[in-house]
Symmetry: C2
Subunit: 170 residues, 2 copies
DNA sequence: CGCAATTCAGTTGTGCACAACTCAATTGCT
DNA sequence: AGCAATTGAGTTGTGCACAACTGAATTGCG
């Protein structure tokens, strides 16, 4: 008995909790990575990674934006965006320049090439939808649930020093 | 007019597709990262990251396993697991040794300390469930949907050279 | 005005995900 | 037995996520 693999078959309840735990978080993670795989294939032609594609979506929709705003749309901070944007700039898809009005801020905009890339991305969503095998209504419902979940988790993380403390916060 | 931010307000349909695209994949991604944030807080005490926690869950449940099997449970390959397991070994939580039966295979097992850590992880699931603010039934339903989605995406990725080609594959 | 607090982008360091590869052990086929 | 194909773990290189930090610009308050 070097490391007691099965602690005790009688202790069903706590064991079940640790299995149940895999429920959402793991399924979510797996689904997210499965999407990543499909996007990787589809976006290879465009020379984009999935996070880069998200940035391009934001820019196609909103035009020129400060880095801060891009981050708000995507829930990403400058630690992630700065190098990512630098790569997009190196690829010739985006342009970055310090705002004249506020020298702290950097405006991110599309180059001609970046704007043109939109045309080639137009049928990505349809192909993704096809890969999911789900109809639009189901997708909508799932998305609504996930957004609620994210909101709840963010709230818990903020008021959440209590999270790592006593569970008695009714 | 350096890069035409808003292509044309009249072109509603294609624009909507590119926005709709954000639907699941982005929500999924955001939810996954939101979970990550909550887990990060909860697991800090245990000295584990979330992926490390997943590995420990597998080992707590199944005892000693070859690296391959751990990867199958978690959908991770050796490129991810090898360094992760090395860190868990350095932390004194797991043990790795070449199988005598098959010298290619490496058995991963718990140390005393790793097995003992289970006790301290027992209330992580409850705290996570509390942070989601969802009841168990809702969680179950969501998980089922996500697993179906993952399955569909994996299938698409496999038969999916067609994915990046003509959409006429009925 | 003058200075402390805040804001914004960027850097550094750690860890994960994944593709592409190496290398040894094993299996299967003849 | 002999050898090609496969399998399993590991390494390398790229890119993302995030914490912690730096440094410059701006804001706000007395």
């Amino acid at each position: 008995m070097t490391a007691t693999p099965a602690p005790s078959p009688g202790a069903a309840a706590p064991g079940d909790f640790l299995r149940l735990d895999e429920q959402i978080c793991f399924s979510l993670n797996a689904a997210s990575r499965a999407f990543g795989g499909v996007y990787r294939v589809l976006l290879k032609d465009l020379g984009l990674t999935y996070p880069q594609y998200l940035v391009m979506l934001v820019l196609w929709e909103h035009g020129e934006l400060p880095v801060k705003k891009v981050g708000e749309h995507l829930r990403l901070d400058s630690g992630t965006l700065s190098p990512l944007l630098k790569r997009l700039e190196a690829a010739g898809l985006v342009r970055r320049e310090r705002s004249a009005r506020d020298e702290r801020s950097v405006q991110v905009g599309l180059t001609e090439e970046g704007a043109a890339l939109r045309e080639r991305a137009l049928d990505v969503p349809r192909r993704i939808a096809a890969a999911t095998g789900a109809d639009l209504e189901e997708i909508r419902a799932l998305r609504a649930r996930l957004d609620l979940l994210t909101e709840a988790l963010d709230r818990a993380a903020l008021s959440g020093p209590a999270l790592s403390e006593a569970p008695g916060c009714t």
